[in-house]
């Protein structure tokens, strides 16, 4: 068990270092950091001085080490566009993205799992076919198109819900939340559905196929043969076993929810980190791009670790392996 955790942590560190290398290479070689920081009138001598100050004359491996150790302390350099520390800008934008991702994930799980279970248990029912058709459309519609359609229906036509922004936010220390105001809650509905729809169909299809697989296993047949109540067989025995792969994949999906937020945030002008990243890509603001990449990698690794822990809690075969 402890060996397992240590192995996982080492793997995570390797992932971060690899992504860090990519981020560093981008940071160092895409555009000249010095040119980005100074004006046209700066003399060559001043540029060289700055280059020295920034450590850009040192061997690359030393520069990489500086980059990584600075990043570990939350220092990602200065944004070319905003002329402010990247960590500060990212810190302001992150709560909006995380709230959106969280609400979307809850929506995806709360709708996806029951729909998946239902379609697995009642394979040929009308409702199952409707769910499956909707899921196919959900997978085929690009998420920006879903967002545009929702805006067209609920904002332009019905004028029920806002089409952009977060509504009013409340500051809780360094965290600003939109979940405590009426306008904030209203504003998050459409973006959350847009962002969560794809994940919902994914979870639904996954739960369905896993559940159908588990329903065919011997232990479910044996549970039925022992005369256990249908409800117990389906939800006690089958669903619990279904959840193991579902937890893994759903957990990993949370990382992609945050990345997919780039699109949703653009459609709804949601002031989060995804929108920030997109603007950075458009303006080749490399420090922000690099920092965003590292942040996603860190979140990914963190989620992976949480998923592993959950896995251990659910599955006794892993839990008892070491002991």
């Amino acid at each position: 068990m402890i060996a397992f955790v240590i192995r996982r942590i080492i793997q995570s560190i390797i992932v971060i270092m690899v992504v860090g290398l990519v981020a560093f290479v981008m940071f160092r070689f895409v555009g000249d950091p010095v040119n980005q920081m100074v004006g046209l009138e700066t003399s060559i001598a001043d540029r060289e001085l700055l280059r020295e100050q920034l450590g850009l004359n040192q061997p690359l491996i030393v520069q990489y080490w500086h980059f990584i150790s600075n990043a570990a302390q939350g220092d990602f350099g200065t944004s070319y566009q905003y002329r402010r520390p990247v960590s500060e800008i990212l810190g302001e934008r992150l709560p909006a993205t995380l709230e959106l991702a969280l609400v979307s994930a809850i929506f995806a799980i709360a709708a996806g799992i029951p729909m998946g279970v239902y379609t697995a248990l009642y394979r040929d029912s009308v409702l199952s076919n409707i769910f499956l058709t909707v899921s196919l459309i959900g997978i085929s519609l690009p998420s920006f198109l879903v967002g545009i359609l929702l805006i067209f229906i609920f904002s332009v036509h019905l004028q029920w819900l806002p089409s952009f922004g977060r509504g009013e936010v409340v500051d809780l220390g360094w965290w600003s939340t939109g979940l405590l105001t009426a306008t904030g809650l209203k504003a998050i509905i459409l973006p959350a559905i847009t962002l969560g729809l794809f994940q919902m169909t994914l979870i639904m299809r996954l739960v369905r196929s896993e559940m159908m697989e588990v329903l065919r296993t011997d232990f479910v047949k044996f549970a039925k043969a022992r005369g256990l109540k249908t409800r117990v067989v389906h939800f006690g025995h089958a669903l619990k076993n279904t959840m193991i792969p579902v937890i893994t994949i759903t957990g990993l999906q949370f990382g992609s929810i945050i990345a997919f937020a780039i699109i949703t945030e653009t459609v709804f002008q949601w002031p989060g980190s995804g929108l920030l990243f997109l603007q950075a890509v458009q303006n080749v603001d490399v420090p922000i791009m690099a920092a965003y990449l590292l942040m996603i990698a860190f979140l990914f690794v963190l989620i992976n670790l949480i998923v592993d822990v959950l896995y251990v809690v659910v599955d006794p075969r892993i839990r008892l392996e070491g002991s």
């Binding site: 044996f222 043969a225 619990k240």
Partner: protein, 325 residues
């Protein structure tokens, strides 16, 4: 015949497929007395497992029983609703599956699975159910049962798991156990132990057994009577000794010759030529005719009726035509 526990009459099981209806079980009839062990033997695909599953209503859809009756202790059970059938499963008819490695839910302790089953069928408290479960585990020969009951399935060996499966099948005190290839997936060294446990438990509890297997050795060791299935039909049924010593159906004879025994050291083991027809292209008349060494014209056109010969029943034209061998 008041001690007849189970009576299966003309049971037919069909599976609709895109090539048409597959008749997996074709007019199978047999009786089973209380406490009796009936072996069902045959090659894979002969319909043994489906017969077993059909009795307790566990045929996978779209398969279904499309003819015949099943009576348990005098009352008909093949036409019961799902909920009534569920109450019979586990409570009156238990089942043991082939592979103990996959028969148990890996995420629950043995205790949870036993107690859940016991309390589904018997009106006991958690504590009483646990005591009963520990008692059962001791009976099937699990050492330190009061401790091991809280272990997970993966912490047991294959043989031990099959003992747990037997305990689970017996835990509500059923009158009949259907054991579907209970030893096939096990090491040879533990196979006879498991057969012993099954035999002993059922004898002690007065439970009848339908023992489904392709292994005549297991039948010889454990069964009182044996039914030989060929291509979904019963070829021959009778007391084990008689069927083994004086098989009447050419298929049974061939089957017996293919078993190695200590006394027949000189004889070569013989194989029955050919293979069992797939149920999609079962020939008209006797299904065994294409492989039979005694085949007559009538065999190819007319399906043989079942005749009583001594204590046995045989479906073969040789018996009706006066034994022209």
């Amino acid at each position: 015949m008041s001690d007849v526990l189970l009576s299966v009459r003309d049971m037919v099981v069909d599976f609709p497929t895109r090539h048409g209806l597959l008749r997996a079980v074709d007019h199978v009839s047999f009786d089973l007395s209380r406490g009796e062990v009936l072996g069902l033997v045959g090659e894979s695909g002969a319909g043994k497992s489906i017969t077993g599953a059909a009795i307790i209503g566990l045929i996978e859809p779209p398969g279904h029983i499309s003819g015949g009756t099943v009576h348990l202790d005098g009352s008909r059970i093949d036409n019961l609703g799902m909920e009534e059938m569920r109450r019979i499963r586990g409570k009156r008819v238990g089942m043991v599956f082939q592979d103990p490695l996959t028969s148990l839910n890996p995420l629950y302790t043995i205790a949870k699975q036993l107690i859940q089953t016991i309390r589904t069928h018997l009106d006991l408290t958690e504590k009483q159910a646990r005591a009963r479960a520990i008692g059962l585990l001791e009976e099937v020969g699990i050492p330190a049962a009061d401790k091991r009951i809280d272990d997970y399935p993966h912490q047991f060996s294959g043989g031990m798991r099959q003992r747990v499966v037997i305990a689970l099948a017996l835990c509500a005190g059923p009158e009949l156990i259907i054991a579907d290839e209970p030893t096939t997936a096990l090491d040879v060294s533990v196979q006879s132990q498991i057969i012993d446990v099954l035999k002993r438990m059922c004898a002690e509890h007065g439970t009848a057994v339908i023992l489904i297997t392709h292994d005549m050795g297991v039948i010889a060791e454990a069964a009182d009577r044996v039914a030989v299935l060929y291509s979904g039909r019963i070829a021959e049924i009778g007391p084990v000794r008689e069927v083994i010593k004086q098989a009447k159906h050419p298929y049974t004879k061939g089957l017996m010759r293919s078993i190695p025994t200590l006394t027949q050291t000189n004889d070569r083991l013989t194989q029955i030529p050919g293979t069992m027809p797939r149920i999609t292209d079962r020939p008209e008349g006797c299904a065994f005719a294409p492989r039979c060494g005694h085949v007559m014209d009538i065999c190819r056109s007319q399906q043989p009726a079942t005749r009583s010969v001594g204590n046995c029943e045989v479906a073969c034209h040789l018996e009706t035509e006066g034994g022209a061998s």
